[in-house]
Amino acid sequence: MWRLLAEALAVAAKDLRTEFRTRVALNSLGLFAVTVLAAVSYTVGPYRIATEDRPFLLAVLMWIVIFFAALAGLDRSFVKEEESHTAPLLRLAASPLAVWLGKLLFNLLLIYLLLAILVPLFCILMGYHVLMVGQFVLILALGGYALAVTTTIVAAIIARALTRGALFSVLSLPLLLPLLIFLIQGTAATADGSLEVIQSTVRAVVSMGGIMTIVSVALFPAVWSD
């Protein structure tokens, strides 16, 4: 157990170190998010949307920016191993479960970094007024986890295919759409303050993240090793 955790942390630390050498994932995630946010803020702005539509429509915009930014960068974790031909060595050095956990930790860190920068910026630029800040942060944290765990296993799949970039979005989006629906409804509810919707959203997102975690743990070895 401790050995597994140590191995996973080593994999995550290695990924962070190589990431800071090139910053490919960070740049693609961050620049995509900031560019789209600038475009949205310029064209829609804080006052274009009627007050009664604001909680819902701003939640839609926010999650679309987050999801597409995630799809722009989160496949790097596995694709870079195949592109630089370091995957065989990693297969020898660490157990499959540790590799999966390490990559998940790395992706989780990227997502939370993205959320920490993007969401406050979005709220300021778009004038998004959230009533229940605690629940809002909870939904962001749970949603970020479910997003990271789903994209990690899909990234592992597409890293072994021929056309990687386009395939990542094509394979991820159908799996992520129910999550996107839940998160939009839940976030809108934190802005207009309906507790019931928040509760059912939290239940749905937690079960989705949990199931994806279990399935990933069970299936990852089949993807990782031939």
């Binding site: 296993i153 597409i158 094509v170 799996l175 759409l177 409804q185 989705m208 031939d226």
Partner: protein
């Protein structure tokens, strides 16, 4: 061989009977506009087969990961192809019904959203199969994706319509546990479900045989 020919004709006669019964044996149901309720006999079996094909594909995928038998991969891919076909048919029949009852072919009702995502999943699965050259790797990756997709489908089919408001009539597993249709309806619907399931089985075995021959031919060439 003769037995399968008899079965095939039996299936075709049965399906013809279902079509006749759907239009002449049953009276239009109350609460539905005009004759629109008759589409239920075709729409529900299509949706059922779309889900059944998905289930079979997922079971075959699990079997593949356990045994690594190429036949299981063939089963999974054939079933996914048929599932895509029936999901398209379910969408088309559903939107015809939506146009008559609700006034628009498409209005992003949670049910329509979930069938769209099912279509996307099937398409993504087939796209993934097209993108991997090595047959064994393709089979393993496709199997993993099919299982991943399979665990998200219950959220679409059961959770999303439960949490958020839907226009769709209650499904077979309805919340109140009652059946609003009269007995003739139930008879024809069950007959239609059985008939279309038979049609699926027939198409599925044909597809598997064709793919098995292709597989053997490829190996002979190599």
């Amino acid at each position: 061989m003769r037995g399968s020919v008899i079965l095939k004709w039996l299936l075709l006669v049965w399906l013809a009977g279902v079509i006749l019964a759907a239009f002449f044996y049953v009276h239009p149901a109350e609460g539905f506009k005009g004759e629109s309720s008759r589409i239920v006999f075709f729409h529900v079996p299509m949706a059922w087969i779309a889900v059944l094909a998905f289930l079979i594909s997922c079971i075959a995928s699990v079997m593949y990961l356990r045994r690594r038998d190429p036949k299981d991969d063939i089963r999974a891919s054939v079933s996914a192809g048929l599932g895509l076909l029936f999901a398209v048919l379910a969408t088309v029949t559903g939107s015809v019904f939506a146009k008559i009852m609700w006034g628009a072919y498409w209005n992003w009702d949670p049910r329509q959203t979930s069938i769209t995502i099912l279509l996307l999943i099937y398409a993504a699965y087939l796209a993934l199969r097209g993108a991997v050259a090595d047959p064994e790797r393709r089979a393993a990756l496709a199997a993993v994706y099919a299982i991943l997709a399979f665990v998200t489908v219950p959220f679409l089919v059961f959770v999303v319509p439960r949490i958020y408001w839907s226009l769709h009539p209650d499904t077979i597993i309805n919340t109140r546990g009652t059946n609003e249709f009269d007995s003739r309806y139930t008879q024809v619907l069950m007959a239609s479900l059985a008939g279309f399931t038979g049609l699926y089985i027939w198409l599925y075995t044909l597809g598997c045989r064709i793919e098995a021959i292709r597989h053997r031919r490829r190996q002979e060439v190599l």
